[in-house]
């Protein structure tokens, strides 16, 4: 532990948080744009400062694609009245948004988003129990929602909170079980090691496709995204756990949801799609030059953005599950499927050895 380590860690931390926040802001825009396209609309295309249209080439793009919309949204959230309804449990009401955001941001810490640059590994914390860490943090994400539901002291948020606690516990099991084949195949919990294994043997999605499907669907459920967004179901619970929230506190819940999306896309890329590696152009080994390092980061970002788009796309493609269907899918489809998957993988590995 020395000076260098601290400085570089802080720099990486700042960059990661900045990038994740930027991604969150623009994924809100992407959400609105993609939903608009799917529904034959144009989407946000107004928001631009007056000078933007005079920029030569980028001008029309900046103005027509609503590139300043996240900025406007952020400003709007910040300047709205911070309203506290009467009868809420004040302390939890204020704490809940923060508790929701913290785990969402923490998950990114163990994800290797690039190989090396100079002598710095492009990962914030190279833990030996990386996957377990991620699951632990993800499981903490439910507190924000449950407390928000409890603090609001009103029926719908309460329902949202109770639903989310049951849903998240159920799907955590399926999610954890789905990753075990990956761990069996690789034989290591370190995310960096998993990536380097994939660089040598090919992406894990080819070895464990069922695991990937279960993981993906469970992560939809864990992030409360649409086929499983029962905790916030607008049409039945008028917004669920964040019904009573407004202004920046509501924005924090938004931030948490989208950060969760970012981190679970990153997890999917890392676990099943080779992380920062690509099987061609010599991109599958640790970088030797600065350009290669940047290329690795870009590869990772592109893969992650693909999954972000899938997340958003699914939201506008499928209707919400009913609660019993959700539980049925989690316990009676995915759990046995994941167990069988583990068994088959173990058998396959045993036959090979």
């Amino acid at each position: 532990m020395d000076w260098n380590f601290i400085i570089f860690s802080l720099v990486k931390l700042a960059i990661i948080v900045g990038v994740v926040q930027g991604l969150v802001a623009y994924s809100v825009l992407a959400e609105r744009k993609i939903s608009a396209w799917i529904q034959d609309r144009v989407g946000p295309n107004r928001c631009a400062p007056p000078f933007a249209k005079y920029i030569p080439v980028l001008g029309p793009l900046l103005t027509r694609w609503g590139m300043f919309q996240p900025l406007a949204d952020g400003l709007k959230f910040m300047f709205k009245e911070d309203f506290t309804p009467a009868g809420v449990k004040k302390i939890y009401f204020f704490l809940a948004p923060a508790i929701a955001v913290i785990p969402a941001m923490l998950t990114v810490a163990v994800i290797p988003f690039g190989s090396v640059m100079g002598n710095q590994k492009m990962v914030l914390a190279d833990l030996n129990v990386g996957i377990l860490y991620t699951f632990g943090i993800v499981s903490m994400g439910v507190y924000g929602i449950v407390l928000a539901g409890y603090a609001a002291n009103s029926k719908y948020p309460m329902f949202g909170g109770i639903r989310s606690s049951a849903q998240m516990i159920s799907y955590e099991i399926a999610m954890g079980m789905s990753v075990i084949p990956v761990l069996l195949i690789v034989g290591n919990l370190n995310l960096g090691k998993i990536i380097s294994w994939q660089a040598d043997h090919g992406w894990l999605v080819m070895y464990a496709p069922i695991a990937f499907v279960i993981f993906m669907v469970s992560s939809f459920a864990e992030t409360n995204r649409t086929p499983f967004d029962l905790p916030e179901a607008e049409t039945e619970l008028v917004g669920g756990y964040h019904t009573e929230y407004g202004s920046m506190k509501f924005a924090l819940f938004f931030l948490a949801e989208y950060s969760n999306m970012v981190s679970s896309s990153a997890m999917m890329v890392t676990l099943f799609f080779g992380g920062w590696t690509l099987p061609f152009w010599g991109l599958d080994h640790a970088a030797t030059s600065l350009g290669m390092g940047i290329a690795h980061i870009l590869v990772f970002l592109v893969k992650m953005l693909f999954f972000m788009v899938v997340f958003i796309w699914v939201r506008w493609m499928f209707p919400r599950f009913r609660y019993d269907q959700l539980m049925d899918l989690g316990w009676r489809t995915f759990l046995p499927l994941a167990l069988v998957n583990i068994l088959i993988t173990a058998l396959w590995l045993w036959m090979r050895s």
Partner: protein, 187 residues
């Protein structure tokens, strides 16, 4: 007694969800392609493109003038009486007030105000008006920066309303009178 609805058991493919997923992908991709590449959108970009209002559209009520530019309203206050949200407020000219600016009417309102924040565009005023002086026209986006600004006075209503096209209620009677040559008012 509760009615139980028979549900067909799902077939194997329906249970697998996969065809539904593929169908969803197909539909959404088709729409996104149409919007993005072919530029087919169902929405309009409002301030630039505007909706063409159909003929019978009931927008904001305005006062109209007749062909000679005279006020048609005779301050009978029927519209004020019939207005459900009480948006209309008419000040009659009174004894000392200005008389009508046209020859075949006794008086015209000293002030005629419509509070556009209250108006519900029901069209009762148009229906009730014996002089056909008020018409619901095609404006639908009325904006202002204050509540006071949204109370339209007589001048504003008249200038917005314009000349009533082709309607001259007294024309028939005028013709009859001319024919009999005992019409009391000199034209």
């Amino acid at each position: 007694m509760a009615i139980t609805v028979d549900r067909k058991p799902l077939t194997f493919w329906e249970k697998l969800y996969l065809p539904a997923i593929i169908g969803g992908i197909k539909v959404t991709t088709k729409h996104a392609w149409n919007t993005l590449v072919k530029g087919k959108v169902v929405t309009m970009e409002y301030p630039e493109q505007k909706w063409t209002v159909p003929d019978h559209y009931r927008g904001a009520p305005y006062l109209v003038k007749d062909q000679e530019g005279h006020t048609k309203c005779v301050s009978c206050q029927l519209c004020e009486f019939v207005c459900p949200p009480k948006a209309i407020r008419i000040t009659p000219p009174g004894d000392a007030g200005a008389k009508a600016d046209r020859t075949n009417a006794e008086k015209m309102p000293a002030e005629f105000e419509i509070n556009m924040l209250r108006c519900i565009y029901c069209g009762f005023c148009q229906e009730v008006c014996p002089e056909e002086a008020i018409f619901l026209q095609k404006d639908y986006s009325l904006v202002g920066t204050s509540r006071a600004e949204m109370i339209y006075n007589k001048e504003k209503l008249l200038s917005l309303g314009g000349v009533s096209p082709g309607i001259q209620k007294w024309k028939l009677k005028l013709d009859e009178a001319k024919a009999q040559e005992n019409f009391p008012v000199k034209l």
